[in-house]
C-alpha cells in the first residue's frame, strides 16, 4: 500500500521550474491524503497571482509523479487559493494541456518555457560549483580545462549532471565540466565573464526563491524560527 511518505518523496522530485527548487523544500505541499489506491494532494503557493504557466507545470508534474507510484490508481492534485485554481485543477484532472486550460489565451504548450528555465537553472547550478572551486583557490584556467570526471563530489555537481540529461547535453566523464546551456564551450578567457552573468542568474533564482518562501510564511502564518532567523 502506498504511504504518505512515498507520496511526499515523489513530490520532492518535482521542482518549481522558475525557482529550481523542489515543491517539498518550498513547502508548497499543503497536505497529502492516501486512501487505499487513491491519493489526494493539496498544493499552495506564495501568492494568489503566481504566474499560471509555472503553476500549471507544477500541478501537472505533481500529478504525473504521484501517478507513477506503484499501487496508485486514482490521483487528484488540487491547487488552493489561486486565481486560476479552477482552470488548472480541471485541466490537469482531465489530462488536458495548458492551452486547453486557457482557451484563446495561450498560443501553445509549455515545453519552450520549461526548457528556457532549465537552461537558466543549468547556468545557476554550474555557477555555484564554479564559484566554490575558485574560492578554494583553483585558477580560472584550471577550471576551464576540467572534465566532468574531475568535478568535485557533492550535491551541486550531481544536480549539474542531472540537468545535462534533461537538456540533452553530454554528461560523460570526458566531456567539459562546464558548458554553455547550448552545449558551447567555455575557455579561460570567457569564463570570468560567463561567471559574472551566472551570478546574476543565481541572484534572480535564489532571491526570488527567498521571497517566495517568506511570502508563503506570511500568507499562511507559518511559524518557522529557523527560517525567520536566516
Amino acid at each position: 500500500m502506498t504511504t504518505t511518505a512515498q507520496v511526499l518523496d515523489a513530490l520532492s522530485g518535482v521542482r518549481d521550474p522558475e525557482l529550481d527548487e523542489s515543491l517539498t523544500d518550498l513547502r508548497f505541499v499543503a497536505g497529502v491524503e492516501v486512501d487505499g489506491s487513491s491519493v489526494e494532494v493539496r498544493l499552495r503557493l506564495p501568492t494568489y497571482f503566481c504566474a499560471p504557466n509555472f503553476t500549471y507545470l507544477m500541478v501537472s508534474d505533481a500529478d504525473a509523479a504521484v501517478r507513477a507510484l506503484s499501487g496508485v490508481e486514482e490521483v487528484s492534485v488540487l491547487l488552493e487559493d489561486h486565481f486560476a485554481s479552477e482552470e488548472i485543477n480541471d485541466a490537469v484532472g482531465a489530462g488536458a494541456r495548458f492551452a486547453e486550460a486557457f482557451p484563446g489565451q495561450a498560443r501553445g504548450d509549455l515545453d519552450g518555457l520549461r526548457q528556457l528555465f532549465q537552461r537558466k537553472a543549468f547556468v545557476a547550478r554550474q555557477g555555484r560549483v564554479c564559484d566554490s572551486l575558485l574560492r578554494a583557490g583553483v585558477t580560472a584556467q584550471a577550471v576551464a580545462a576540467m572534465h566532468v570526471a574531475d568535478l568535485p563530489d557533492g550535491h551541486d555537481s550531481e544536480r549539474c549532471l542531472a540537468l545535462r540529461a534533461e537538456l540533452g547535453l553530454d554528461a560523460r566523464g570526458d566531456a567539459p565540466a562546464f558548458l554553455r546551456p547550448d552545449g558551447g564551450a567555455l575557455d579561460a578567457a570567457t569564463l570570468p565573464r560567463w561567471l559574472r552573468v551566472a551570478r546574476l542568474v543565481r541572484l534572480s533564482l535564489e532571491g526570488n526563491g527567498g521571497l517566495c518562501r517568506s511570502l508563503l510564511q506570511t500568507r499562511y502564518g507559518i511559524e518557522d524560527p529557523e527560517e525567520a532567523a536566516a
Binding site: 522558475e18 506564495p46 501568492t47 494568489y48 497571482f49 503566481c50 504566474a51 499560471p52 504557466n53 486565481f83 495548458f98 492551452a99 486557457f102 484563446g104 489565451q105 495561450a106 498560443r107 501553445g108 504548450d109 509549455l110 519552450g112 518555457l113 528556457l116 528555465f117 537552461r119 537558466k120 547556468v123 546551456p181 547550448d182 570567457t190 565573464r193 560567463w194 559574472r196 552573468v197 551566472a198 551570478r199 546574476l200 542568474v201 541572484l203 534572480s204 532571491g207 526570488n208 527567498g210 521571497l211 517568506s214 511570502l215 510564511q217 506570511t218 500568507r219
Partner: protein, 345 residues
C-alpha cells in the same frame, strides 16, 4: 530633503500610488486577491512598526499620503504611477484622474502625474490617450503589461498597437515610459516577466526613456542583458529597495550588480507607496553600504551614488529643478560595463 552627516539629499520618490482597494470598490475575487497580495508584500518586507492594518492599507487618505511622503518622508517630488486594473475594481485601482485630484488639492507639494495607455483599445483609444496627455500635461506613462481586459491576460510592448501608442508618446513629448511586468501576459505560455519586448521598443524609440520598474526582478539577468545594450533603459528600484531591511545582503547584490552592469546614472529610487514608506527606506539607504566581503566584486556606494539614485537621476529625466548645493560632486558615469554582455541562454 534629507540631511545626514552634513550631506543633503534631494529625494524624488519615483513610484507612488493613491489607490482605492476598499471592499466597496472590489469588483470580484480578483480585486480581493490583488490587494491581499500587495498586503502580504507590505507585511512581509516592512519593519514591524510600519505595518498598517488591512483596512487602512485598502484605502488610505490624502492626508496620510501627504504626511507620509512630504511631512515625514523627506520627499521633494513624488511621481504618481497609475495602475488601472479596471477589470478588478469598479472605479479602477489607481487612475490618472485620482492622482491628478490629489495633486490639484495640494499645489504646494511637488507631484508628477503620470498617465497610462492600453494598446488593446487600438486606434479608438489613441484619441482618448491624447486628451489625457493634454489635460494633465503628462511627461510620462506607467504601463502594466499584465493588466486584464475582458478575456485578454495582457499585452506586449513590441506589438504594432503598442508601437502606435509609443509613436504618439514621442509626438506629444511623453518621454518617460515606465514599464511594469506582472504574472500574466499574452500569450500565457510565454514568460510574463521577460523584458525582451522592452528591448525592441527601446531600440525603436531612442528618444524615449524606458524605466523598467522593479529593475526587471525576478529576471535581473534579462534586464541587465538589455540595459547594457540600450542606453535609454533605466532601473526603477521599487520592490527591490525594501529588501534593505529584511535581506540586506541580497539588496547589496542587486544594487551592486546594477551599478556594475548599467551604472549609477540609470538607477531610480521608488518606494511603491503605500506598500512601503519613503521615510525608513531613505534613512536606511543613506546609511547602507555594500558588506565588506562583497566590495571587491561589487564596489562601494559613495555619497554621490546615493544622491543620484535617491533623486538626481529622476530629476534629470523629468527636468526637475534641483536646489543649489545638493548636486553630486562628480558627473561622470562610473562603473557601467562598456562591452556587450555574454548571452546567458
Amino acid at each position: 530633503m534629507y540631511e545626514k552627516d552634513g550631506e543633503r539629499y534631494f529625494i524624488v520618490d519615483g513610484h507612488i500610488h493613491f489607490w482605492d482597494a476598499s471592499p466597496e470598490n472590489q469588483a470580484n475575487k480578483y480585486g480581493t486577491g490583488f490587494i491581499n497580495c500587495f498586503y502580504d508584500y507590505h507585511r512581509n518586507l516592512s519593519p514591524e512598526e510600519w505595518v498598517w492594518p488591512l483596512e487602512k492599507f485598502q484605502k488610505y487618505t490624502e492626508d496620510d499620503l501627504i504626511h507620509d511622503l512630504f511631512e515625514v518622508g523627506y520627499v521633494d517630488a513624488g511621481i504618481f504611477q497609475p495602475t488601472y486594473l479596471s477589470d478588478f475594481y469598479n472605479n479602477g485601482f489607481n487612475t490618472t484622474e485620482q492622482d491628478a485630484a490629489v495633486a490639484e488639492h495640494h499645489p504646494d507639494r511637488k507631484f508628477i502625474v503620470n498617465g497610462a495607455f492600453d494598446p488593446r483599445y487600438g486606434k479608438e483609444g489613441l484619441k482618448a490617450f491624447e486628451e489625457l496627455v493634454k489635460r494633465y500635461d503628462l511627461k510620462g506613462v506607467k504601463l502594466y503589461t499584465a493588466e486584464w481586459k475582458g478575456d485578454s491576460r495582457g499585452w506586449k510592448l513590441d506589438s504594432p498597437d503598442a508601437t502606435m501608442y509609443l509613436e504618439k508618446c514621442q509626438e506629444l513629448g511623453v518621454r518617460n515610459i515606465h514599464v511594469h511586468k506582472g504574472p500574466t501576459i499574452w500569450p500565457l505560455d510565454r514568460d510574463a516577466f521577460d523584458v525582451a519586448d522592452v528591448d525592441e521598443a527601446a531600440t525603436s524609440f531612442p528618444e524615449l526613456n524606458f524605466i523598467v520598474e522593479h529593475c526587471g526582478l525576478p529576471r535581473l539577468e534579462d534586464f541587465c542583458w538589455i540595459a547594457t545594450q540600450e542606453p535609454n533603459v533605466f532601473a526603477g528600484l521599487a520592490v527591490a529597495i525594501p529588501f534593505i531591511h529584511t535581506r540586506p545582503r541580497y539588496f547589496a547584490q542587486i544594487v551592486g550588480e546594477l551599478c556594475y552592469w548599467i551604472g549609477e546614472d540609470r538607477i531610480l529610487f521608488g518606494s511603491d507607496y503605500a506598500i512601503w514608506q519613503p521615510k525608513w527606506l531613505v534613512e536606511k539607504f543613506v546609511d547602507f553600504q555594500i558588506p565588506e566581503d562583497m566590495q571587491s566584486e561589487l564596489g562601494v556606494l559613495t555619497t554621490d551614488v546615493k544622491k543620484k539614485i535617491l533623486g538626481l537621476n529622476a530629476a534629470a529625466l523629468y527636468d526637475l529643478e534641483v536646489p543649489a548645493g545638493v548636486g553630486a560632486q562628480t558627473t561622470e558615469a562610473a562603473g557601467a560595463v562598456a562591452s556587450d554582455p555574454v548571452s546567458v541562454t
